[in-house]
């Protein structure tokens, strides 16, 4: 006796596991149900995005940014093209700005719907997941009529967008928003205020303010911890300063500030704000205009570098682009919000039960495509 250490067990969660949201591997040490140590192992989905970019022209990089965060591809396009436009000093037409914001916000709703649905699935609620997928489907339909693709759009171009909105898009979007607002109440009733759901998520995986900032956690996760920080409000890019919307922050309604329920709730509230933005954008958008007007003949940003960040559904999505004046970038670095969020996992989920680790992981809303790139 004494040779076998009977009180701790190493458990591999993943790379293939129903709730790791992709091919993530978590090496955890468990003491019974209690998890004492978590080591995330990533890289299973590494597709050499940054190396690829060295061989591609600036336009050809755009479809690759799609494939990083495949849940919110529009937002990834958006960040990249705005960064390159900043370098080249391009002023895009007003209609293009509005179209981009409509697309980005619709995609934010779609992304949050998926995040909330899969979060419900992690907790064991199967039905809300399908309700949310049903509504996400409508957004994908809208994207499909616009650019033909449902997931990887390659819609935004440097200096414009690939297609103008099709006839009837505006009306269809209004119709969708009307329906969606009614349905969001249903989500709250079936999931958010469900007592079992609250018990499972409230007070679990609390991410305090200072820890969140220290770990570079951004987006809804940071706002869930009670920090009012939204790039759309605080460093407005594109024409976000023209819109009126609130920045929901976690208030600890069901437990303490910064728990999993708060992160969930912030996302649910953000969808409502996005609906508001889309509505305003549809109201104000110039009805006519050439979306290809400002397309540059050739994309060759002047020598120099830029670090530019936008608010993707997962947080601060930063692009560090270095140009040497040729048609191919020297370096494109993507600062992915999910990457930093995952690095905080071991800090906030250690000491909880095995089930809670997966709940916390779900509440961080990671996309492995973006983490591994």
């Amino acid at each position: 006796m004494g040779l076998i250490k009977a009180d701790e067990m190493t458990l591999n969660i993943g790379p293939q596991h129903p709730s790791t949201h992709g091919v993530l591997r978590l090496k955890v040490k468990t003491d019974g149900e209690i998890v004492s140590e978590i080591t995330p192992v990533i890289g299973y989905l590494h597709r050499c995005f940054e190396k690829h970019c060295e061989y591609l022209t600036y336009e050809q990089v755009i479809p690759f940014t799609d494939r990083c965060d495949y849940i919110a591809a529009m937002n990834n396009n958006f960040g990249y093209v705005v960064a390159v436009e900043k370098m080249m000093d391009i002023q895009v037409p007003e209609r293009v700005e509005y179209i981009r914001i409509i697309m980005a916000e619709l995609n934010r709703i779609a992304s949050h719907l998926l995040a909330l649905g899969t979060f419900g699935l992690d907790v064991g609620a199967y039905t809300p997941f399908l309700y949310m997928f049903r509504d996400r489907e409508r957004i994908l339909d809208l994207f499909e009529i616009t650019c033909g693709a449902r997931l990887l759009y390659n819609y935004m171009w440097i200096g414009g967008v690939s297609h103008d909105l099709p006839v009837g898009f505006v009306e269809a979007t209004y119709r969708f928003l009307d329906e969606f607002e009614k349905k969001s109440e249903e989500y709250h009733n079936i999931l958010s205020y469900n007592k079992i759901f609250i018990e499972r998520t409230a007070d679990v995986g609390v991410l305090p303010k200072d820890v969140a900032i220290d770990y570079g956690v951004t987006g809804p996760n940071l706002r869930g911890s009670g920090v009012k920080w939204d790039l759309r409000k605080d460093e407005p890019y594109s024409i976000y300063e023209k819109f009126k919307f609130e920045v929901p922050v976690g208030q600890g309604l069901m437990g303490s500030v910064g728990d999993s329920w708060d992160r969930y709730w912030v996302r649910a509230e953000e969808m409502k704000e996005s609906v508001k933005i889309v509505r305003q954008a549809l109201d104000k958008m110039p009805r006519k205009g050439d979306v290809h007007e400002a397309l540059p003949k050739r994309v060759r940003p002047p020598q120099g570098s830029i670090y530019f960040r936008t608010e993707s559904p997962r947080g601060d999505l930063g692009y560090y682009i270095i140009s040497d004046g040729k048609d191919k970038p020297v370096r494109v670095k993507m600062r992915s919000p999910a990457f930093t969020a995952l690095s905080a996992l071991s800090e906030i989920a250690s000491g909880w039960m095995l089930s809670d680790v997966l709940v916390v992981l779900g509440s961080l809303d990671i996309v492995l495509g973006e983490i591994d790139r």
């Binding site: 890289g43 900032i213 570079g216 930063g318 905080a344 591994d372």
Partner: protein
């Protein structure tokens, strides 16, 4: 006075000789000497006028095999004063090494591991410097400009993607 000038002034006062003054004043970054980087980093985070409490991004950069150096670029942001700064630190290409800031900003842990993974820059004082995205037994530093795509991996031949295409 913009943030960069202010920061470089304050840092130069505290750590004389550490700021390599950029050749052009309109540059939007600060080039630092790598020697005292750890202390400067601590100073950047705690000094009340700066308070760069959020490390946004750490980017490894290779500007070509002929430059004889590798660079690491840090983007910092302050949630107190809402200002940001870019700091660049160059290192020798042959034996790249930079003091780690992993214990100052926790997020730097993974960022530095990624830079090490891609460029082979050793971060002195990092507690867990391993490969991040690539397999542990990978050879070479893929994002360096002089990196050659290997023909074999662990003795296995990398198959050509398409036969009869070229």
């Amino acid at each position: 006075m913009n943030v960069n000038q202010k920061v470089s002034q304050i840092v130069e006062e505290k750590f004389p000789g550490s700021v390599i003054i950029p050749e052009e004043p309109q540059n939007d970054f600060i080039q630092l000497n790598s020697e005292k980087w750890n202390e400067i980093a601590k100073f950047l985070k705690t000094e009340s006028a700066l308070k760069f409490d959020s490390c946004q991004c750490i980017t490894g950069v290779d500007l070509g095999a002929e430059t004889e150096k590798l660079e690491v670029r840090y983007n910092f942001h302050s949630t107190k004063h809402l200002h940001k700064v870019e700091i660049r630190i160059a290192t020798d290409r042959k034996r790249p090494s930079i003091p780690s800031v992993e214990q100052i900003w926790r997020v730097a842990d993974w960022f530095e591991r990624e830079v090490y993974d891609m460029y082979g820059i050793r971060f002195k004082g990092h507690r867990d410097l391993r490969r991040m995205l690539l397999p542990d037994d990978w050879k070479g530093w893929p994002l360096r400009k002089d990196y050659k795509t290997p023909q074999t991996y662990n003795g296995m031949k990398v198959p050509k993607v398409r036969k009869g295409w070229d």
